[in-house]
Each structure stands twice: as C-alpha cells, then as structure tokens.
C-alpha cells in the first residue's frame, strides 16, 4: 500500500552563523504515522523538527537552505502565513508550558485568537480536545481552575489539548516526556499512539527505547547527517548502517 507523503524535506541545510547544523537532509514523512527523530545530543534532531513549522525563524543568525514541502507547498515560500502554518502544524515542547490561565482558557486560547467568540462552539472544542488528549475525565469538574495547579503529566496533556484545539494535521513533539516521570511518560506515549489515527506525528527523542515503542518510522541523525531512515521494526533489529548499529548498542552517544 502506497502511503500518502504529507511532508517532504528536500536537501535541508541549516546554519547557526558559520556553524552548519543540518547537512543535506532529505526525508519523506508519511501521513498518519508516528515518525521518530533520534540521535545523540547535537545531531540536529531538534533543529530539524523546528524547521517543520519555522520555529527557528527568530533565532539570531539562523539560516535555512532547501525545501520543506507540506502537502506540496513550500513552507519557506514567500506567500506562506506563519500563523496559518502553525495552525496546521502544531507543536508540543519538552517542558510543559501552559499559560497562567484556567484549564479551559488554555485550551480555548487558539480559537479565541482567531476571533471566535461563540461560547457553545468553544465549549465543544474544549471538551473534544481534552478528550482526545485523554485528560477530560481528570479535569472536567475543575475546568476553571488554574492549569498551573495540575501535575507535570497533566500539564503536558493540556499543552497537547491546546495544540489539538486549532485542528492541526501534524503535531510536532520535541522531547515531550523528558520532564515527566515514568507513569506520565507512559500516558503520553499511549496518547501519541492513539493520536496517529487522526494526525501525523513527529517526535524528537534522545530516548531510543521511546522511539522504538511509539514510532512507525525512525530517522537516525548524527552530526547533522541523516544516517538512516526506515520502518522502526527494521531500524531496531537490522540497521543497515554501522553507525546506527553502534548507537543502538551503546558504543557512542
């Protein structure tokens, strides 16, 4: 079965000043799958994921060359509206970063700034997003309490619900569990697996076991090069490149 490719990264090169981070990375991301980007610190995995919704644009002296096509449209093209882009391609960060507002307002935020004020409509989206983020049952009776009163794992799920509320097609997760305990981590991983039925997910992780558990495809980056990319089951059992083999068996990284 031929899978639809939702994001095509073509010859991506990126630089911080004179230092080159990504080197000719070319990668196709299939829709409605989980793709993991893994590699040791400094390999460029976070830089790469941030290129997918132009989070690097404001980084001083950052430069990007190459193309990122989302549904065939070049994200670095002149006519691209970054706000629209980030509505389509949402992001969840390493450290949960809820706004200092109520649980409800956190999730409603993205819709409100679009100028939508219909209470019933917003109620519906908040409930649906919290349900999809597997948080509804835990918070439905205290939607108007501060999101900061929640545990770390719950805060991360609020951030996921906030990302889901604006109806994205792709969600980028940059080390989503590195600040969480094992139980909260398991919940987020399970959630990622559920979400792929409706969204395309890309996860950056330095945790190889997590990449193995949650993803369908894995890309291994090392010193800015894409060393290997393929089905996760293959990468973790019979990697084709010696460097992947050595990374997975703990010889470096």
């Amino acid at each position: 079965m031929e899978q639809e490719i939702i994001i095509q990264i073509k010859d991506a090169n990126s630089f911080y000043g004179a230092k080159q981070i990504l080197k000719n990375v070319t990668l196709n991301i299939p829709a409605q799958t989980v793709t993991a980007l893994m590699g040791p610190s400094g390999c460029g995995k976070s830089t790469l994921i941030r290129c997918l919704n132009r989070m690097n644009d404001l980084v001083p002296r950052f430069r990007f060359e190459g193309n990122v096509l989302y549904k065939g449209i070049d994200l670095y093209g002149k006519d691209v509206d970054i706000t629209d882009l980030r509505r389509e391609i949402g992001m969840v960060f390493q450290k949960p970063n809820p706004f200092p507002k109520s649980i409800y307002e956190n999730v409603a935020y993205g819709i409100r700034i679009q100028g939508i004020a219909n209470r019933e409509f917003i109620d519906g989206i908040v409930e649906e997003s919290l349900k999809r983020a597997a948080l509804w049952d835990e918070v439905k009776d205290r939607l108007h309490e501060s999101a900061l009163s929640l545990s770390g794992g719950q805060q991360q799920r609020i951030c996921i619900a906030r990302a889901l509320a604006v109806k994205p097609h792709v969600i980028l997760f940059d080390e989503p569990c590195s600040a969480l305990d094992p139980i909260a981590t398991a919940k987020i991983e399970e959630l990622i697996t559920d979400l792929k039925n409706n969204y395309t997910i890309i996860v950056v992780t330095h945790n190889t076991a997590q990449a193995a558990r949650v993803s369908d495809f894995t890309a291994f980056l090392y010193l800015g090069d894409l060393i290997e990319y393929g089905p996760t089951a293959k990468i973790f059992t019979v990697p084709q490149d010696k460097r992947t083999e050595e990374y997975l068996t703990g010889k470096f990284g």
Partner: protein, 227 residues
C-alpha cells in the same frame, strides 16, 4: 501498546498452528483414503505457507523484543512463542515427511492394516490441538494432560516397530514399504513429542516453572530414554 502487539502475535501463532494441524490431518487422511491430491497439497501448497508464517513470526518476535522490551510474563510469552514457532515449523516438516511416505505407500499393496497408524495419528493430532488450546487459554491442567498422553503414542509407535520387524523377517520384498510406514510412525511420534514440549512451555509461561528436566528424568527412570 505491547498488549495489542502481543495479542496480534498470539493470533498469528494460532493461525500457524491451525495450518500445521490441518497439514498433519491431511497427510494421514491422504494415506488412509489413498488421496494423492491431499498429500500433494500438503507438500506443494501448505509447506510454503508454513514457511512464511515461520519467517513472519520470527521477525515479529525479534522486533517486539527490540521495540517494547517485554518483561516478566510478557517476556516469557515472547520467548516461548519463538520456541513454539520453531516447533510448528518442525511439525510442518513432519507432515511433509508423512505425505511423501504416504505417496509411496498408497501406490502399493499394504504391508499391514493401518488401524494403529490411524489411532496414533488421532492421538498425536489431538495432542497438538490441545497444546495450542492450552497455550491460548493458559490452561495448565490441559497442558499436563497432553504431556501424559505422550506415552500412548510411544506405545503404539513401538508396536508398529515390532510389527514391521516381523514383517521384514518374513517378507523381504516389503522392506521399503515397511521403512516408509516406520517413517510415518516416527514422524507422528515426533509430533506428539513436540506437542508435549509446547505444553511444557505453557506451564512455564503461566507458572514460571520449568518442568522439562524433571519430566525427562522421571520418564527415563520409568521407561528408559525414548528413541
């Protein structure tokens, strides 16, 4: 995530076991009813299918260990499925051996009535079926029961060996036919043996107890080593 993967893996193993059980039944039915088509079907169509299952389950188990790092009962189950996969592959080969010898025999006069072979096959195939049921339902009592039935098959096997020995003594022209019938009996005996292995594995999965060596010692003390 692991739960679903394990369920999927078990499901594939059951499909494989059903195929192999069918192969054994067909190989004996082909002999008893002199049905060449059934025997050729086992060799030409079922065996390649069995090989595909073997490869696929092997790969799935390896990937599952690599990706999900199963522990405790999950680990015992995956490791056991790997072994059972090998067992089923062996049994599929036995069904092919039986079919080949049956093809030789059905074209020639009988060396002896086949009642023994029929009863041996019925017991061995039931043991295989029950060993898989014991695995699916984690039924330790059934697993132990299957282990106990192994002796029945061994006894019939020995009787067939004796019969063939006397037949060869009396009629020199039937040696090849006798050896083929012996081969069928031996392959059925292996199917029964392997079914008991599976049951020992089931007991290991459920109770974490390894009864293999204990049983072997017991059996050898009672009956001497099996051939």
């Amino acid at each position: 995530m692991l739960i679903e993967k394990m369920a999927e893996l078990k499901h594939r193993l059951i499909e494989y076991a059903t195929l192999v059980e069918g192969m054994i039944n067909k190989s004996i039915k082909g002999l008893l009813e002199k049905d060449e088509n059934l025997l050729e079907d086992v060799i030409e169509r079922d065996e390649p299918k069995a090989n595909n299952y073997d490869r696929e389950i092997d790969e799935t188990c390896t990937a599952l260990i690599a990706q999900f790092e199963p522990l405790a009962k999950d680990l015992r189950t995956v490791v056991t499925i790997l072994k059972m996969n090998k067992d089923l592959e062996r049994m599929a080969d036995h069904a092919v051996n039986i079919s080949e010898s049956s093809l030789f025999l059905i074209a020639r006069p009988l060396v002896k009535p086949l009642d023994d072979v029929r009863s041996m096959a019925r017991t061995a195939s039931m043991m295989l079926k029950d060993s898989i049921d014991a695995f699916v339902n984690e039924n330790v009592a059934l697993a132990r029961d299957v282990c106990d039935r192994d002796e029945v098959v061994d006894t019939v096997g020995e009787k067939i060996l004796d019969d063939m020995a006397s037949f060869i003594r009396e009629k020199r022209d039937g040696i090849r036919r006798s050896l083929h019938l012996m081969r069928i009996a031996h392959n059925l005996e292996r199917v029964a043996d392997i079914s008991t292995n599976i049951c020992e594995e089931v007991i290991y999965i459920v109770e974490g107890k390894d009864i293999k060596h204990h049983k072997t010692e017991e059996r050898e003390a009672d009956h001497g080593p099996t051939i």
